[in-house]
Structures are given as structure tokens and as C-alpha cells.
């Protein structure tokens, strides 16, 4: 069976009866369900179309009145899982205008998660002491109220870029600019990205393939010139990307029509439904378009 078909089958097989996806088994989670919707976006088979429709229904049913999503139905608080759910709704809204209200709420929630560049005492103190501020301007936390990190900030950037164009919301570009600035400020000494931790007592911390790829994809989507050293490092990572997630984000960040980044000799296997979705999104981006990048 061709790889893309195997990935579709994997997703169809793993979908829960309620329409959501678990990471591997168990109850449905917002993040893999959002990625599942994105992965099946261009599938035409009846089972895939039906699966995508059920997943969208599950996402709609799980949205909180605040506009955000909790990561799992057993969790009360909304988290950065909202970004992936929002990207899924954005992909579907082009064909289903009934999602507009859901999206407005979701975008408002996501926009409110970006830490502002205000004149708080803690921010001024951090600047005076040359230490990272607890709520770095432009960053987004995984879990509300905690510090901002690279992955949730990059995912929020993808949301703002796509929504700014699709919904003609130019103010969201300002947010994307703020989140991009944060991402650029959080590079490791090797010019890649890790989770985004403080350099204190971790001055020589290494970057990771997956966060480097995702950060580059977000910066590219936000039309930021990609730092040459970061691109070079990401390209090196593809020889040993450590996971299918790392490889997929890097390929999505660096590929363009006519430029394919080759898989390594040993392709890391997909371990979760999220992995299956990311790999399928990458494969479909080669035939269609990269759904994380702005059109035109």
C-alpha cells in the first residue's frame, strides 16, 4: 500500500466513535483531532470525508464558551491545543461558513494568550537584570498563566497568519509580528530552537529538530527572512531528524514547489495519530499546497 494511503487508513482506523482522535488509544484529544482534520483536508474518499466531518463536529462540540479548547474532555482549562483546533476550523471554514462564529471566538481566545509588551514591574526588572522575563512579550504559554514557549508560540503564529489572510483581519498580522520576534529571540547558540528554556545554567543547550522545523515554518508563514544558519542547521537535522514529527516540520518549513527535502535513509516511524497526520500533511503539501503558508 502506498505510504499516503496507509496513513489515511491509520487515521480512519484510530478515530474514536465520538469523532475525535486519541494520541494512540483512549479518549479523544483536541490536538490530534485538529491535526486529523488538517491531514484529511484534501482526501476525496467517502470514509475520509465522513471522518473529517465527524471530527469537525467533535471539535465544535468541545469548544468552550470562552472560545478555547481544553486538551481533553477530562480537563477543564483551555490550553494551547486551541491553536491546532483553530487551524482545523480555518481549513474547514472555506467550505462551511457556519463555522464563522466558532472561529471568531477561537481567534479572540488565541489572541488573548499572547503576552503583551507592557510596562509591568517584572518585565522591567528582568530587563534590568538581563534575565528572561517570566512572561516574555510575544510569547504564548502551553498552559495559561505560565511562561511562554517556542511550540505554542509558533502554532499561534500559524493561526494568526492564516486567519489574517482568510478572514481579512490585518490586526492579526501585528500579533504574528510580535510572536515572530519572540521566536527569533529564543534561538539557541547553534541557531536552532529547543523548547525555549532560559539559557541560565543551560548556555550550550542544543536545539531540537522538531522545534527548529516548527519555528522556521512559523517564521516563513509570517514572511520573516529565515536566518541562513538556522536553515542550514535544519537541513543538517534531516539526516537524523530523531522523529517523524521533527522531519515533517522541517520539510514543511523548507520545501517549496520544485524543492523537496529528501527523507533520510531510515524514515522514523509514526508513533501516534498526530505523527500520522503530520506526515500526511507533508505528503499532501507536495501535491497540493502547504496549508500552513499564506496563499499567493
Amino acid at each position: 500500500m502506498p505510504e499516503d494511503q496507509a496513513l489515511v487508513e491509520c487515521l480512519l482506523h484510530a478515530q474514536n466513535p465520538d469523532g475525535g482522535w486519541p494520541y494512540s488509544k483512549g479518549t479523544s484529544w483536541a490536538e490530534p483531532t485538529g491535526f486529523g482534520v488538517l491531514a484529511l483536508q484534501s482526501e476525496q474518499s467517502s470514509p475520509a470525508v465522513a471522518a473529517r466531518r465527524r471530527a469537525l463536529g467533535w471539535l465544535q462540540s468541545q469548544q468552550k464558551p470562552s472560545g478555547g479548547w481544553s486538551p481533553n474532555q477530562n480537563v477543564t482549562e483551555c490550553t494551547s491545543a486551541t491553536s491546532v483546533a483553530t487551524l482545523a476550523l480555518l481549513s474547514a471554514e472555506q467550505h462551511d461558513q457556519s463555522l464563522a462564529k466558532n472561529l471568531d471566538l477561537a481567534l479572540a481566545w488565541t489572541a488573548a494568550q499572547v503576552y503583551p509588551d507592557d510596562l509591568s514591574l517584572s518585565l522591567l526588572l528582568a530587563r534590568a537584570l538581563h534575565v528572561p522575563p517570566p512572561h516574555a512579550p510575544g510569547s504564548v504559554a502551553w498552559y495559561p498563566g505560565t511562561a511562554g514557549w517556542v511550540t505554542p508560540t509558533a502554532l499561534a503564529t500559524l493561526v494568526f497568519v492564516r486567519a489574517a489572510q482568510q478572514k481579512n483581519r490585518p490586526e492579526l498580522r501585528n500579533l504574528a509580528a510580535a510572536t515572530s520576534s519572540y521566536l527569533l529571540s529564543r534561538r539557541c547558540t547553534d541557531q536552532g530552537w529547543n523548547h525555549g528554556g532560559s539559557s541560565t545554567r543551560s548556555e550550550d543547550a542544543n536545539s531540537y529538530p522538531e522545534t527548529t522545523g516548527l519555528a522556521l515554518l512559523a517564521l516563513r508563514a509570517a514572511l520573516v527572512n529565515l536566518p541562513r544558519e538556522s536553515v542550514a542547521l535544519a537541513t543538517q537535522f534531516t539526516a537524523n531528524p530523531e522523529s517523524i514529527e521533527g522531519l515533517s516540520w522541517i520539510q514543511l518549513a523548507l520545501e517549496s514547489p520544485g524543492l523537496t527535502i529528501a527523507d533520510p535513509p531510515r524514515l522514523p516511524p509514526p508513533r501516534t495519530t498526530r505523527d500520522c497526520s503530520l506526515r500526511l500533511i507533508l505528503l499532501r503539501s507536495r501535491a497540493n499546497r502547504n496549508l500552513f503558508l499564506p496563499e499567493g
Binding site: G26, N72, A141, W142, Y143, T146, H195, R201, S202, E210
Partner: protein, 318 residues
Amino acid sequence: MKLNVHRRHFFYGIFSLASACSKVRVPSGVANVSIVKADHYQIDLARIIRGILIEHQVPVAGQRVVLKPNLVEFSPHLPINTNPIFVAAAAEAFRSMGAKSVTIAEGPGHRRATLDMAESAGFFGVMKNFEDNFVDLNLDDVSRVHFAQPFTNLDSLYLPHTILGADLLVSLPKMKTHHWAGATLSMKNLFGIVPGGVYGWPKNVLHWAGIDKSIADLHFAFPKQFCLVDGIEAMEGNGPIQGTAKQAGVIVGGAHPPSVDATCCQIMGIDPQKLKYLELAASRSPLQIWQPKQIAEPIASVAQKFRLHPDLQHLRLT
């Protein structure tokens, strides 16, 4: 399963309350801690671990045992992760003593690709059908667990069902220095049970609430634990990731995590009474943790001065 988890939550709450009430009691006893020399991983580690479990009269038969190693990074060459041979030996020991089930479970704090990391660390090569016996705690289903008298301002945490459903939680840390907490041992190892799927990578809610207090809260949430510390090849210097290898040649085990960790600190040349999380644990422990009863080897026979981060020299045992 669902009812079982809820009963446990009730039990944890009662236990936390009881622990809090014990704050006013004067510690009246000491825990047993085993110190066993083990120069390398190619010896019969399962026999050694079985011996420790028998010595401590750990009830294993019929129990659902969850082994929680420390899996942090893709780095087969540095002693960052609990050695897979050590974990396999522990699994064999518990199985041979009649455990109903032995599950290996971990939720790494920085990297999401848990199984890829486990493969890179050598778990797939050492343990047959590793994937079938492993749970990624970052992605497991969760329930909220309330703490009655937490040290942190967190009144609850979401925790994975695999951990909540265990009869016995076995902490299998790597003996390492830690550039924030001083040392990362069996208590700090429980950070890995907090689900990244809810709190993210890293699990910053714990840092935000205070590393030391969070370590203490997680400890008191799990009354039935056993600890086996992999100190055969340890880490010194800028741990837990950027340190260097230290041949410590020791396994430390016991049923009382603060006592086990205090013993490890003394082996490492760290003053346990200067580690905040141990001080917090001691303040509510019914046992006196600083000088546990040592079984097998005395501390002096295995003690080494682990290099400490320059900012942490004040933790040195004098």
C-alpha cells in the same frame, strides 16, 4: 477502571490530609535504605534488585506495578536516561516475584517523541516487545487529583490513569546532579508523571508553582512507592542534561523516597539538609529522613564527591 480511579482520588486526598496533620508530630522512626555496589550493567542486576525487594519485604505478588524510569533526551552516549538494562532488570525482578502486571511508563519533560527517545536510548534492543509494555504518560488519559494540604498553590493536578491505577509505583531515576534542585533522584523523577498533553513541554506549571514545593507535593500524593536509583553510571556537574558521566557503581533502594534521596545525596557529597524539597518532605514525614538505617554497604564505602555546578557549591556536604 473509572470507579477505581475515583476511589484512589479519595484515598489520595485522605492521605494528603493525614500527611499534613502529621506535620506536628515528631518523627519517631527511620526508614531502611539499601546501598548495593554494582560496578557495571553486565552483572545480574535482576538478582540484586530481587534481593533488595525481599530485604524490604515489598508485597509484589498480584500487584499492578508501574516502573517509572527517567527518560529525558536523545543521547545514547551520556548518562541522562535511566539505563535500559537497569529498567529491564527491575521488570524481570518484579515479574519473577509474581507481579500481576509490570508496565513501564514515562512522560519526558522537553521532547514529545517519547518512543523515539526510548528507541534511541536502547530500550527497544534490551526489552522484547517494549512498546507493548510502555505507556507515554504525556498522552495517557487523565483525571484531576486534589491535594488537601499542598506546599504549592496548586490545589490539584491532572494525572495519568496508568499511574493512578497502579498498586505500586516504582521510581527508577538516574542518579544525577541538577542545576536548579541540587540533585534529581527518586522524588524529582515524579515530574515525569505530570502529563505534557495537558501542561505542555516543559511542564512549566510545576516550575511556576516552585520546583521544590512541586516535588514535595507529588511525593505526598503517592503513598505506595518503592525507589531503585540507578547510580551505576551517574551524572555530575551541570546535570540533569549537560553534565558528565560519573562512575558511582551503586544501586540505592527503599520504600521511603525522601530517605532514599537523602542517602543518595550523601553518596554524592551533597548535604541533603540543604535541598529544599527534602527539607519540605522532612517537615511532614513521620520518619526521620536524614540518617536512615542503611542495609548492605555503608555510605562511606561508596561515597564520591560529585562535581557541582559553580552556583551550587553551597550544597556541598562538609
